[in-house]
């Protein structure tokens, strides 16, 4: 008599199948729920608190109504430009080395590994390092120190995406250029880099979006300031920093400003991330299929 699988066993396997499918769906819902909870609440609170003064006025002292974060927005702009100006060229250069020169050499692999590990170092440690390197010798907080701290955070991300993007450029194009007698450096700059540039720009935008919201490294480098920024060598206001200060304060008026600031910050980040995704059709980190 042939062996017949027991009905109960099949049933149990079906139940387990449905159970775990259900759990996977449930966890997806549980993960996406906080995203909407945060965004909807932020939109609600932020839109209520936003006005023109927010973008044009300096912060007011406690008790006075009104005031805005104009100087923080300008300060963030300065710090982020500085960080991009330092971090992006170094990152792209390192990426070029890794793909075009390093290849599979042990040195290149070590650099890849170090970049990945550096990517996981907490941002507050970057803050202490920039404080010790720049603030202590200069004896004052500065936009420069903040820019350097954030630039260090950009380097590993930009390096790895640049390398990844260079890898998508077909070798035949490189060989064609080299075959025409074009020196390697020109081939890299005008052929490889140019072909890969949409992807590399994506990587830079993602690195930018990542550091735009960073607060911890600014605490003891930028330090904050109530006035318009006037030099790279003095304490400077920054949007995430001001949000933090206002959020932990006991005043309702300041909480209102914190929500408005958070909305502006997140719109800035989301727009850049979504733009990148729409333009290049790629996932945010490595996502998308």
């Amino acid at each position: 008599m042939p062996h017949r699988p027991s009905r109960i066993n099949v049933g149990r396997r079906q139940i387990a199948n449905h159970l775990f499918t259900g759990l996977a769906v449930l966890s997806t819902i549980l993960v996406i729920a906080p995203l909407f909870a945060i965004l909807v609440y932020l939109l609600f609170q932020g839109v209520r608190s936003l006005n023109v003064a927010f973008f044009t006025h300096l912060p007011r002292p406690v008790g006075e109504a009104g005031g805005g974060m104009a100087n923080s927005i300008a300060g963030s702009g300065i710090i982020l430009s500085l960080a991009s100006l330092i971090g992006i060229p170094v990152g792209i250069g390192a990426g070029i080395y890794l793909y075009e020169y390093g290849g599979d050499r042990p040195l290149a692999n070590m650099i890849r590994f170090t970049a990945d590990v550096l990517n996981g170092v907490p941002s507050i440690v970057m803050g202490i390092a920039a404080y010790s390197l720049i603030v202590v010798p200069q004896k004052h907080f500065s936009a420069l120190a903040a820019g350097v701290a954030l630039a260090i955070m950009m380097v590993p991300t930009v390096t790895r995406t640049t390398e990844e993007m260079l890898a998508t450029v077909p070798n035949a194009i490189r060989e064609a250029a080299l075959g025409l007698g074009i020196p390697k450096w020109r081939t890299v700059m005008t052929v490889s880099l140019k072909t890969a540039s949409p992807g590399i720009i994506t990587g830079c935008m993602l690195a930018f979006a990542r550091i735009a919201g960073e607060t911890a490294p600014l605490l003891f480098t930028a330090f904050g300031n109530q006035f318009w920024p006037s030099s790279l060598n003095e304490p400077i206001a920054a949007l995430p920093l001001q949000i933090f200060v206002y959020a932990v304060s006991p005043y309702d008026e300041w909480h209102r400003l914190a929500w408005a600031g958070a909305l502006v910050l997140i719109v800035m980040i989301m727009v850049s991330v979504t733009l990148v995704r729409v333009v290049t059709g790629r996932g945010m980190l490595k996502g998308g299929h």
Binding site: T21, G91, A94, A247, V273
Partner: protein
């Protein structure tokens, strides 16, 4: 002809300069790590010299009396990190499995995008939301509920302020989730399809295919993803600082306010009076740096073993 040769010559020089420049950029990554390590050791040597290894065994943090021990912060950091992983790991794996193995193709990209949007929200915004939304919910509903139904476990003793270990672990869990799920997805994607087809051909249900064909093959990489999440949780600063309560004592229950390595630096660094105080804080930063480097290195090696090994086998 002569002009051509001259051009070749200058081209060779330019080539070498360019290669050296790019190598310099790449080596700067080593330099950054070395520089951070060097400067942290230099600035914390006062405290290193004064307390030695005892710094990490002493539980007394009293800046006024000049007594510094990191035990309460180590406790707070480990407790909040592990609690957050306890919440985040099952959810992250669930999402990764759903997106990779179960989801209709059309929904894949949007859901992946949404989970990764979670990673784009800055820490300070999570903190803001936690202060004004999560903390009241914890104080009014979740806290009392846990106390009545799970009070017997002894985990929920003491007054419930809304802020504290549990609240900060929840917000931390939301923040490390996208990290774990995106790496877990990469790792699962590296499992060759022949594995799935083989298991299905033997008559397995879809869940059995996932369990036997995918999870078992990807387990090392999944452990790597979890450790990577741990590294993120250990160093997360702003959101935790805003809701953990910042009290330098070993937490007695999940409702107790606590303090983490990162948040003590964030809170006290600019107020540190005296060189010893400052150097003790920098020593905490040094410890955080070394621990996250080790944790991340282990995680990267594990992930690398799965993704690299499998692509090689699949080809």
């Amino acid at each position: 002809m002569r002009r051509f040769l001259e051009q070749r010559g200058s081209g060779a020089v330019a080539d070498r300069t360019f290669a050296a420049l790019m190598l310099g950029c790449a080596l700067s990554i080593f330099a950054i790590v070395a520089l951070i390590l060097g400067i942290l050791i230099l600035r914390s040597r006062l405290s290193l010299h004064e307390f030695g290894f005892k710094f990490f065994l002493q539980s007394d943090w009293d800046p006024v009396r000049g007594s510094f021990g990191a035990v309460p912060f180590i406790w707070g950091t480990l407790a909040s990190a592990f609690l957050s992983l306890l919440i985040a790991v099952p959810l992250a794996l669930g999402v990764a499995i759903f997106i990779n193995e179960m989801c209709p193709r059309a929904l894949r990209a949007p859901i992946a995008f949404l989970t990764e949007l979670l990673a784009a929200i800055p820490s300070v915004v999570y903190g803001l939301w936690a202060i004004f939304v999560l903390v009241p919910i914890m104080r009014r509903s979740v806290g009392p509920f846990l106390k009545t139904f799970f009070g017997w476990t002894g985990l929920f003793r003491g007054p419930n302020f809304g802020i504290g270990l549990l609240t900060s672990s929840i917000i931390l869990a939301i923040m490390v989730l996208p990290v774990i799920s995106s790496i877990a997805r990469d790792v699962m994607k590296a499992v060759p399809n022949t594995q799935r087809e083989g298991v299905l051909a033997l008559g397995a249900t879809r869940w059995e295919m996932v369990r036997i064909g995918v999870l078992r093959n990807a387990r090392i990489g999944i452990v790597g993803a979890v450790i990577l999440g741990l590294g993120r949780a250990l160093g997360e600063t702003m959101a935790v600082t805003m809701v953990i309560g910042n009290h330098a004592a070993i937490p007695k229950s999940l409702f107790s306010p606590a303090y983490t390595l990162a948040s003590v630096i964030a809170n006290e660094f600019t107020e540190a009076t005296g060189d010893l105080y400052l150097s003790a804080l920098i020593e905490i930063g040094l410890a955080l740096f070394l621990v996250t480097i080790v944790v991340n290195a282990i995680a990267r090696l594990l992930v690398f073993m799965v993704t690299r090994g499998n692509t090689a086998r699949a080809v």
